[in-house]
Subunit: 351 residues, 2 copies
């Protein structure tokens, strides 16, 4: 037995998750002498992603949703775990390979059963593409951004796009894709450092800090002729302001409503008033989940284009690391608070 | 000169239109001895439609919208005026013809200029189809219903559709089309007589009176497995309840928000809370205006199918008459209050 620290899910949070009570880091042990599970493999894990959707899975299992509830007492399920294979009982996966496992436990060592093989990919990074890009722009986050922007947003060069949570994982990916494709890209962020970053490092056309400037004034100032595409990660007041400032036949890509995730109960929810714009302006407001067929069908195109842009230096894979599984709870809460700039990643061990 | 009473637009209403101050009926005179306008024609008018969109055109002309503001001092513009031609200066329109003019004045006699020819159609009713059907199911109302239901709603036999303002002009048309196409059709109405009518006369599957029953309970009771299509004529609380009860991949056809039309200012507007369903359930929520190309492209199919259904007796053209132009103001306000059952029509003279 070796030490195997895991990021544990201990209880269903009521509102904001409480460290110690709802979430903790504990040693669950790993038998390094045991053979791999039949047909499966074992890993030493290097990275795990943090995603806001994890919060949605920390719920009473009787509440149905598109992803299953996590199991109390087990490690937190990450959207992607990236590990190095220790032992393998399947010819598909070689010892020493780097694997990306979808929807797996956040822990130092894993014994991965055969049943997880169809959500495991062997990673062979293209030249010029960092390993961690497969957790972000070339992972689920990038699929979310690329698929939905094209499927629902229908971008054309010159279109004005407003992106909320623009320095977050999805937001900065959407914004960079839009920059690549010749759109006029406006970002909304909650902090001046993020604002500087999206404009000066990522090439956004403009942006504003919604905590400092009146949102409605900012949108009118930066998009005086209106918005063609609103890429919505947050919901709430900015959604209302966007509705008021859409152009005719505009598209709203409904990706997430992070401003509502830690409200318990709907009674405190923000009420959107400008929904009559949907009729008057003939808007199309559409939601999606990254695993939907109409989103996933963009995967090949995403893989090719985004990898090429990263390799030629015109697109940044922006990682925001929490170093060491001991800090897993803080890293998770930090992401929920919006402390990250780019993709939130828990670094578990050096590659 | 003969008497020519007109339904006059006298001032921009602030909230609810005030009879006498904002709207009135007055004689504006008609010279029956004068020749028709060059290239135009004159009519004795038989019918004019009432439509909620007229309220939207009674606004300060500096406020832009998809239809122009009406002109203070002129007659109220109706969506359709149906008249008999008295004199004509164009070979396209013969004396004695029945014509349907889009967007024309509500008055007993009209001198129609050449410029209105492209919005004038000569009507030759098919056997078994009443003349007034061309003001409703075969007019703009029916185009609204048929085009948007198919373009945005994408109905399939067996789908559950909830229709609001279901006994109104658009609502009863949508509901009857859905019945014809094998959907499970639920109507929301504001009065028991309307409820009886949509179920027992129009063949809706079920319905409820939103003024008597808790809306959320009613929807859960009548659509326990959820809604595939919500056809929204009203906005407000029912929209919120619909959002909560949509099935995955459901469609919301955003036709109108009549519950908001007589609120002055947005501050009193209802705030929709359940918008996060758009993401979670991958809803498509889309607005339209009947004159949009994607709606109008259904015109030929609508003309054929709806006329056939009316002629074979399986589809009712439901007219709600206000008799005589002297009652034009009351008829208009009655429609805004929801007193109509079916298409509101001002009858000006016998055919
Ligand atoms: N539909 C899908 O399939 C799918 C897939 C992946 C992600 N998503 C959704 O996409 C959104 C972004 O995800 P992500 O991975 O990019 O997350 P992320 O990297 O954690 O970024 C989230 C950002 O949201 C902002 N934020 C946090 N709390 C907020 C609040 N109360 N009000 C307004 N903004 C707040 C913060 O930025 P600021 O400091 O700038 O406010 C934060 O950095 C989330 O809503 C997520 O659920 C959806
Ligand atoms: N997008 C387009 O191109 C287009 C074209 C035509 C019409 N529309 C819209 O479609 C909707 C219906 O038009 P229509 O011609 O069918 O009108 P209608 O025949 O006048 O029917 C409207 C019905 O709405 C209900 N209603 C009135 N005030 C209400 C309120 N405050 N809250 C809830 N319900 C109320 C009433 O029925 P109850 O007694 O049952 O409440 C009324 O009978 C309107 O919103 C209109 O603007 C849109």
């Amino acid at each position: 037995m070796v030490q195997n620290k895991a990021f544990l899910y201990k209880a269903v949070p009521d509102g904001w998750p409480v460290p110690g009570k709802d979430l903790s880091v504990e040693d669950i042990g790993f038998d390094e002498t045991a053979p791999p599970p039949p047909g499966g493999f074992t890993t030493k894990n290097l990275y795990a992603t943090y995603d806001p959707s994890q919060r949605g899975r920390m719920r009473d299992p009787s509440i149905k949703s598109y992803t299953p509830a996590m199991t109390v007492g087990k490690p937190v399920v990450s959207v992607h775990v990236l590990g190095k294979v220790l032992k393998s009982d399947t010819p598909k996966i070689k010892e020493g390979a780097i694997v990306l496992i979808k929807g797996y436990y956040t822990e130092e060592y894993s014994a991965v059963p055969e049943s997880a093989l169809d959500r495991t990919a062997v990673i062979d990074p293209k030249p010029g593409v960092p390993l961690t890009a497969y957790l972000g722009a070339l992972g689920m986050t990038g699929m979310t951004a690329y698929g939905s922007l094209h499927e629902i947003g229908q971008p054309k060069p010159g279109d004005v796009i407003l992106v909320s949570a623009a320095a977050g994982a999805v937001g900065q990916t959407v914004g960079q894709i839009a920059v690549q494709e010749g759109l006029h890209v406006i970002g909304s962020v909650g902090d001046d450092r993020k604002l500087d970053f999206i404009i000066n490092e990522l090439g956004f056309t403009s942006g504003f800090n919604y905590k400092k400037e009146n949102i409605s004034d900012a949108v009118k100032r930066l998009a005086p002729d209106g918005i063609d595409i609103y890429y919505d990660n947050v919901g709430g007041e900015l959604l209302d302001v966007a509705l008021q400032n859409m152009k005719d036949f505009g598209r709203i890509v409904a990706c997430g409503t992070i401003s509502t995730y830690n409200n318990s109960g709907a009674s405190g929810a923000y009420g959107v008033k400008n929904y009559s714009s949907v009729v008057r302006k003939r808007l199309r407001w559409q939601g999606f989940i990254v695993y939907d067929p109409n989103i996933i069908r963009w995967e090949k195109e995403r893989d090719e284009k985004v990898a090429r842009w990263i390799a030629d230096g015109s697109f940044k894979s922006v990682d925001f690391f929490t170093h060491g599984i001991d800090h897993a709870v803080d890293g998770f809460l930090g992401m929920l608070k919006g402390e990250n700039l780019g993709k939130s990643i828990l670094k578990i061990a050096d590659p």
